[in-house]
């Protein structure tokens, strides 16, 4: 059993392994360019820092509220994976592109600029929540921001996302769909049904595999015959890139390549983001399937927020500036939590609304 967390193994700047390991059966296929680490200016770096920190602090607070019984049911935290959503989101065209993900969705909602108060109020099941308290942690949506949820059945978002991409192509609106799923979902049959149709019809979709190494408690090497998830599209002629998901600039660089490929009409592409969740699968997960040392080692060596601090330092950002941001974020999250605790629950009549849209 491999103890070493994958971010250490996932050498981010190595040649894309797809071309390296290409067999003679598929030598002539066009491949995407090798991604480069994104060169961000100071403002951009500060924005990444701010957004990743917001997710981190928000999720920590959500964990606390869960412990206090204010959040119920399933609650899947995004701590450790922040660079993935932030790096990819920053490269999208917010007016055009659509996004869909699974149930670990708070981080994505924050990344798409939604009000932390509304998100936290959804977590506490309040009327002011994003879905009026009817969705909860796993089912968050913002059609206005083209964020299509928030889906609780593992892998369902992959075919739904393929449908969103179909709609982009049908309408010829130039948009693409970013469909996030985990290493666990990557073993679902409908993922491959979707790969087949997406490639057959050249749909504008980026399949984003957030490989956080564990499908609930089952590690990738215990569940996957081919652990290199980015190769999973080869039989469907979908190229894949393996990316260090713990470095927001690596993620952003890969996003550029993927978006160029998809917008160029070349059909789908797979991005495998090697990442790591520090917390359990959900709040009720004691995480006995991995050692404390393993988690600690990733936090120390690969943490995305600590990582970007080095770039910020090089760009001349002072400790004080970062401290000011930390304080600001703390305020935002505290305010969101207060709001979510104090705002009222949905009216009882809401039980019966939104079942169907029309009256028959």
């Amino acid at each position: 059993m491999a103890k070493a967390p994958a971010p250490k193994k996932a050498a981010p700047r190595r040649k894309p392994a797809a071309s390296k390991s290409a067999t003679p059966a598929t030598p002539e296929r066009e491949r995407p360019a090798e991604p480069k680490r994104w060169e961000a200016d100071k403002d951009e770096l500060l924005e990444y820092y701010r957004q990743m920190l917001l997710i981190r602090r928000f999720e920590e607070k959500a964990g606390q509220l869960y412990g206090l019984g204010l959040i119920g049911g399933f609650c899947h935290l995004y701590i450790g994976q922040e660079a993935v959503a932030i790096g990819l989101q920053s490269a999208l065209d917010g007016d055009l592109d659509s996004v869909i993900t699974g149930y670990r969705d708070h981080g994505h909602m924050l990344a798409y600029g939604l009000d932390p108060k509304e998100i936290m109020a959804e977590l506490t099941g309040r009327a002011a929540g994003n879905a009026g308290g009817k969705g909860g942690s796993m089912h968050m949506f913002s059609v206005e921001k083209r964020f299509y949820g928030g889906h609780g059945i593992v892998g369902a978002q992959v075919s739904l996302g393929t449908g969103l991409a179909f709609a982009h192509k049908y309408r010829e609106d130039g948009g693409l769909c970013l469909a996030y799923f985990g290493d666990g979902a990557a073993n679902q049959g409908q993922v491959y049904e979707s790969f087949n149709m997406a490639s057959l019809w050249k749909l504008p979709i980026i399949f984003v595999i957030e490989n956080n190494q564990y499908a609930m408690g089952t590690s990738v090497n215990r569940s996957s015959a081919e652990e290199q998830m980015f190769k999973r599209g080869e039989s469907f002629r979908i190229p894949g890139l393996q990316v260090n998901g713990m470095d927001v600039l690596d993620v952003r660089g890969a996003a550029e390549v993927a978006i160029e490929w998809v917008r160029g009409g070349k059909g789908p592409i797979i991005l495998e983001l090697k990442t790591y969740r520090y917390r359990g699968h959900s709040m009720s997960d004691p995480a006995k399937y991995r050692s404390r040392e393993e988690v600690q080692s990733v936090r120390e060596k690969s943490d995305p927020i600590e990582g970007i601090k080095k770039d910020l330092d090089k760009a001349g950002v002072s400790e004080d500036e970062l401290k000011a941001i930390d304080k600001e974020i703390k305020g935002v999250v505290g305010e969101a939590a207060d709001f979510a605790e104090s705002s009222p629950e949905p009216e009882p009549e809401e039980l019966y609304t939104d079942v169907l849209v029309e009256q028959y």
Binding site: S98, I100, G129, N130, A131, G132, G133, K134, G135, H139, F141, S142, V143, Y148, G149, G150, H151, G152, I153, A156, V158, S159, L160, G161, T162, G163, L164, A165, F166, A167, H168, Y170, R171, G189, Q190, E193, S194, N196, M197, L200, T353, D354, V355, L356, V357, E358, Y360
Partner: protein, 465 residues
């Protein structure tokens, strides 16, 4: 002995077809595998291959002949050593040698307008063709259920660019049951999309496209295969609006044949009406007549809600009067009284309505006048129509071509007990399929399915006759 070449059955529900073309002539030497003729069914044109060797002695059915019954001798083949000229045609073609289950023989695919071959159509009471949704004096046209469904899709596709149809064999093959015939020609490959055999995947793609603002019609070759996709129908399409607090719509139609076909055994013969009708968040429609199929499918395509639209293969070829109107729609959620009477209420839906009407005619001959209600929509259920009729007749039989347990008929029974108890002069009685997987053998299949006689028996029981 000369060999009799008989009109072949080219599908489980084919009863007759057109001998379109002979590709061989009398006197030709035939080898096994030679293509001898082209035969048209209502679904497709098929090539008829020789299985025996010999000389084609006589052609008994000339090309271009319509309505050639399955089993009719169409030609005679002289075997080696026989003189082709000596071959005589058989005296009379035995038409119905094999036992055909009632359901198949009365409800099977028929070509448009051949009412002579379809006694059941002549039996159809006049009330059937009277559409309360239609203005007085509206001209009617005879259409098969299949044509009505196709017309509904075509009209809505003309009216709204967002509407498209996807599924297995819907485009180039013209539909596995020919329901999408002609759509590819009119609307092109962008809007009439052949999918791989991948129900889970394309149900998800369709649902996602609906979430993204399109209006998909997803055809399942049959609803048996939608079991692969039921997660998206229920969990993705049916729940999204609620989970998102009313933000995210999913205007999609899942349609295809449902219920027992004919002689296709357990995995291909079942009624999913009760399954889908149990799910809040879905609209479920299961019409009987061609007019309702057309009007309700148009309403379904226009609805902002996800709709499961359950058709019936055995009804596809049946003809009904359909109003000739520019834009004929039928409201979702409204049952229809298809025959009026005051002695007993028979409630049914889909193919069961046909049996109920047959039974009502028989009962009328014995002095029992039945009110026959076609539910048409299974969710939301038109309780008011059911209870109103019960309040007049005080007796009810619920007819369902499907299993009895946790069924639409058990739901209707519960409603009558909870909300119509004081109106009941007899227990509500159900006529449903037997509680077994569908058998293949013709006699067993017939025993498993409902028919008019079973309904007559149940009605007499609740009338204490």
């Amino acid at each position: 002995m000369p060999i009799e070449l008989k009109m072949p059955a080219l599908s489980p529900t084919m009863e007759e077809g057109t001998l379109a073309k002979w590709l061989v002539k009398e006197g030709d030497t035939i080898s096994a595998g030679d293509i001898m003729a082209e035969i048209e069914t209502d679904k497709a044109t098929m090539e008829f291959e020789a299985v025996d060797e010999g000389v084609l002695a006589k052609i008994l059915v000339p090309e271009g002949t319509d309505e050639v019954a399955v089993g009719t001798v169409i030609a005679m083949l002289a075997e080696e050593g026989e003189e082709a000229g000596d071959i005589e045609a058989p005296a009379e073609t035995p038409k119905e040698e094999q036992p055909v289950p009632e359901a198949a023989s009365t409800e099977q695919d028929a070509k448009d307008g051949d009412s002579s071959a379809k006694p059941k159509e002549n039996d159809t009471p006049a009330s059937l063709s009277v559409e309360p949704e239609v203005p007085e004096g509206t001209e009617m046209e005879k259409l098969t259920v299949r044509e009505a469904l196709r017309d509904a899709m075509a009209e809505e596709m003309r009216a709204d660019d967002r509407v498209f149809v996807m599924g297995e064999e819907v485009a180039e093959y013209q539909g596995a049951y020919k329901v999408t015939q002609g759509l590819l020609d009119e609307f092109g490959a962008k809007r009439v999309i052949d999918t791989p055999i991948t129900e889970y995947g394309f149900a998800g793609v369709g649902t996602g496209a609906a979430m993204g603002g399109l209006r998909p019609i997803v055809e399942f070759m049959t609803f048996n295969f939608a079991m692969q996709a039921i997660d998206h129908i229920i969990n993705s399409a049916g729940k999204t609006n609620y989970m998102s607090g009313g933000q995210m719509r999913c205007p999609i139609v899942f349609r295809g044949p449902n219920g027992a076909a004919s002689r296709v055994a357990a995995q291909h013969s079942q009624n999913y009406g009760p399954w889908y009708a149990s799910v809040p968040g879905l609209v479920v429609i299961a019409p009987f007549s061609a007019a309702d199929c057309k009007g309700l499918l148009k309403s379904a395509i226009r609805s902002t809600d996800p709709v499961v639209f359950l058709e019936n293969e055995l009804l596809y070829g049946q003809s009904f009067d359909v109003p000739k109107m520019d834009d004929f729609t039928v409201p979702i959620g409204k049952a229809k009284t298809v025959r009026s009477g005051d002695d007993v209420t028979i409630v049914s839906y889909s193919i069961g309505v046909g049996y109920a009407l047959q039974a009502a005619e028989k009962l009328a001959g014995e002095g029992i006048e039945a009110d026959v209600i076609d539910l048409r929509t299974l969710r939301p259920l038109d309780k008011a129509a059911v209870l109103e009729s019960l309040s007049r007749t005080n007796r009810m039989v619920v007819v369902e071509e499907g299993w009895p347990t946790c069924s639409i008929s058990s739901e209707i029974t519960a409603i009558c007990m909870e909300e119509g108890f004081d109106d009941l002069d007899a227990p509500v009685t159900r006529v449903t399929n037997e509680d077994v997987p569908m058998p293949y053998a013709a006699n067993l299949e017939k025993l498993a399915l409902i028919d008019a006689d079973k309904i007559v028996g149940a009605v007499k029981k609740v009338c204490y006759r």
